[in-house]
Structure formats: C-alpha cells, structure tokens
Amino acid sequence: MPLLELRNVAAGYGPIEILHGVSLQVNAGEVVSVIGPNGAGKSTAFKVVMGLINYLGGQISFDGHDLVGVRPDRILALGLGYVPQGRVVFSQMTVRENLEMGAYLQRDKAKLEASMGWVFSLFPRLGERKRQLAGTMSGGEQQMLAMGRALMMRPRMMMLDEPSLGLSPRFVDEVFDKIVELARGGLTVMLVEQNAARALEISHRGYVLELGRNRFEGTGRELLDNPEVKRLYLGGEVRALRGS
C-alpha cells in the first residue's frame, strides 16, 4: 500500500476547478517529483493534500488514514510535513523561534530540544545563527530554515513545493543535496519543482501534470529521456501564424 495516495482528486480555488481528477502515489522511502508547465496544478495538488483549498472530489489517504476534511494540524500530527512555496518563514522571529513554531504540537520539551539538535546537525548554519532574525537571512538560508521547521515534528514524509525557486546556483545544489541526504536517512519525499531536470535526477519516480491532469509518469530516468515531456513546456506543434 502506498504511504500517500491521491485517487482521481479534483480541487480548486472557490468555484474554479484546477485539478480535474489527478492520481499520485508515493511509496514509503521514495523520492517522487511532480513536474509540469505553469498552471499544471502541481502546487494545488500539495495544498489539497494538506486541506488548504477547496476539495471537490476523489480520495486522499496517508498511512491508511483518509485525509479528506482533516485539519492541517492533524495531518501534521500523522507524520506528513509540508514546506510551502516561497520560503515562508516568520521574518520577525529568530531562527530558534521559527523552529519552535514548527514544533508547536510537541508538548514534550525534551523531545523538542532533541529535534532542534537534530535539525542543527542537518543544517549547521541554522545552529550558528539561532538568534538571528529570519528576515535578515539570505534566500537560501531561509529555504533551509523552512525545511528545518517542517522537520521539527520528525515527519515520515515531507512535501516540498518548489524548494529551489529563486535560489542562487550554489544554494540550488545545497537544497538538492539536502533532499538526497534526508531521503537516505529514511524520509519519504514528494517535491514540486520548476527545475524538472534536477528534480528527476534525484527521484525514484515522477509524475508530469498538464492543465490539472496526469500526462506522463515513470522513473526519473524515463521522464528525463522522454522528449515529449520537454515538449510540453514549450507548447505543441506550431500552426501557421495567423494574421500575417
């Protein structure tokens, strides 16, 4: 049984349907990429799993639990972490306070400190900057902080929405290295990425969405080598130009 499964899920914003029946599976221990051109519904798929937008149909389950209608904090408590797009950190809080926010469900102080120590060992730079305000850090450091915060609950699986977006090449490398390191440590990962080549390279499997529907799926390698996948990004066959 897959750890996370979406079956024929429809979702959207208000009355506007963005996902028209998308199916995704992630098995325990896998790294799975979700790619596709702008407007494919990649981020929307993550948001509907976390219960953040209008669910319009289909089944969503995690570790045997039905997630439909479940509050985001309960989903987190089930062991599914989520790092939203755009390096969302509390900019007026310190690094340490941000990490504490990630563990607000954790009442056991000793466990919280243990998680904090683990996150600092994963991201030494965060440990060096415990007292720095998050808003004053670079984009790459903020992304590390957002990931560290999601790890504070020691999730079994993490969903990362565009972790490399807007980062300098050095930090892009660092983020992907970190994902590989976490996966080797047993974390199940699903990520949405605009940098499809880099994401597929580190993924066991991938899904390609287009306009809210499944288009292709396969191993990371198969999708990397499929010219049809690349073609989706730049439009189909060009018809004769009109009006000229």
Binding site: G39, A197, L234, G235
Partner: protein, 243 residues
C-alpha cells in the same frame, strides 16, 4: 515623403533593475519590431513583469535606456509614457470594481477629445470586446475573463501605437480567449505593435511572430516560434539542467 520609420518601434538597451540584492533585470536588451505581435517569455522569476514595469515607467531602471521612436523614456513617469502612445494591461486586472463598464472606459485620462467623442469611442470599444450587453454593469460583477476584456478595451481608449499585455490568457476561458486573440490580430492588422507576456505557450507559439526569452534577468534567445521551441538554452531554462 518623410523619412522611413525605423523598423523597430521600441528598443530596450542594457536595462538593469535590482531589488535589494536581487538583480531582477540584469542587462536586458531587445528591439520590438513595428506592427507585429511579439512575445516575451521566460520561467517564473525571470524578470518579464519587471521589464514591462521598466518600459512603462512603473519602475525606473537603475541603468540602461528605453528608446521609443528615437527618444529615451527611462526615468519618465507612467502618465508621460502613456501619453506618448504606450499602454499596457496587468497580470491581475486593475479595473474599478465600483464603476460601470462604461465608466471604467471613460475613467481614462488625457484623451484630448470632447466628451461626446470619448463616449462614442468607449461604446465602440465595448462592442469590439463583446461587452455591450454589460455596459451598465459594475466592473466588480463581471467574470474574471470579462474584467480582462474590459481592461484590454480600456487600454485602447487613447488609440495607442504600442500595447503591452501582461498575461492576457491567464484565467480566461477558451471562448473569451479566442475573442481576445481575434482582437489582438485586428489591432495588428491596423498597424499597432503588440508585446505579450504569457505562460500559455500555445498562445505564444501560435500568435507571436518574434519571441524574446528571458532567464535570470537577461535575454537568452530571440527568434520565430519554431526556432525558439528547438533552442537548447530555452529548453534548459524551462526544464532545468542536470548537474
């Protein structure tokens, strides 16, 4: 006979704009061909909208020039640029929600024509985008696609020579999109110059004669659609590159 007009109506020369440490536009140059539809594309965050903002005076470039009909526009205010014949629409429409469709059209300043003429022109343009039956409706009550058509029609009130459209297709249903594209081609046939920023590649590839591709704030490719679709640098910009 006067001098033959330059074949390019607008030229961006080495435009730069940084926000804090982020170099959103980092030395971007391109020339927009007169009387054609051009496309400006690039992955998220590549600097397309910032470039539009630099061309229309919403932002002042840190350096570089915007040459329009031989004159440098860099540093001019938006209304000054607007009066030179350049208009634009926005990614998120900026219509007046509490004015009617007709009032929105007449809210355009600097028309330099009598009210009666402005009104006639407004009615004609409302018809042009098929909104006549909604002319007395409040802007806020239109569908998202209709709001985009209204903003597009409003941009034509001054009879501009150069029209910049920021994501005209986003959130517009197929039928309205086809209307919009028909209108854009009619403007082209009248000799207007149009530049489109758009993520819908089918719109870009099937309706633009020339495409400029941006990545990390610079132009990385330029050419006709079929060439752009095969360009390795463009594919890499969109699809990423293996390590």
């Amino acid at each position: 006979m006067g001098p033959r007009p330059d074949q390019n109506v607008l030229e961006a020369r080495n435009l730069k704009k940084a926000f804090g440490g982020v170099r959103a536009v980092d030395g971007c140059s391109f020339a927009v061909p007169r009387g054609k539809i051009s496309g400006l594309i690039g992955p998220n965050g590549s600097g397309k909208t910032t470039t539009f903002n630099l061309l229309t005076g919403l932002l002042s470039p840190d350096s570089g020039q915007v040459i329009y009909e031989g004159e440098n526009l860099a540093g001019l205010r938006p209304y000054q640029i607007f009066r030179k014949g350049i208009t634009r629409t926005f990614q998120i429409t900026r219509i007046f929600r509490e004015m009617t469709v007709l009032e929105n059209m007449l809210s355009v300043t600097g028309l330099d024509v009598p009210d009666r003429v402005a009104r006639e022109r407004a009615e004609e343009l409302i018809g042009f985008v098929n909104l006549t039956h909604l002319r007395a409706e409040y802007g806020g009550r239109l569908s998202y696609g209709q709001q985009k058509l209204l903003e597009f029609a409003r941009a034509l009130m001054t009879d501009p020579a150069l029209i910049l459209l920021d994501e005209p297709a986003a959130g517009v249903n197929r039928t309205l999109l086809q209307h919009l594209l028909d209108h854009i081609h009619r403007l082209e046939a009248e000799g207007k110059t149009i530049v489109i920023v758009e993520h819908d590649m089918n719109v870009i590839m099937n309706h633009c004669e020339r495409i400029f591709v941006m990545d990390y704030g610079v132009k990385i490719a330029e050419g006709p659609p079929a060439e752009i679709q095969r360009d390795e640098r463009v594919i890499e910009a969109y699809f990423g590159r293996r390590r």
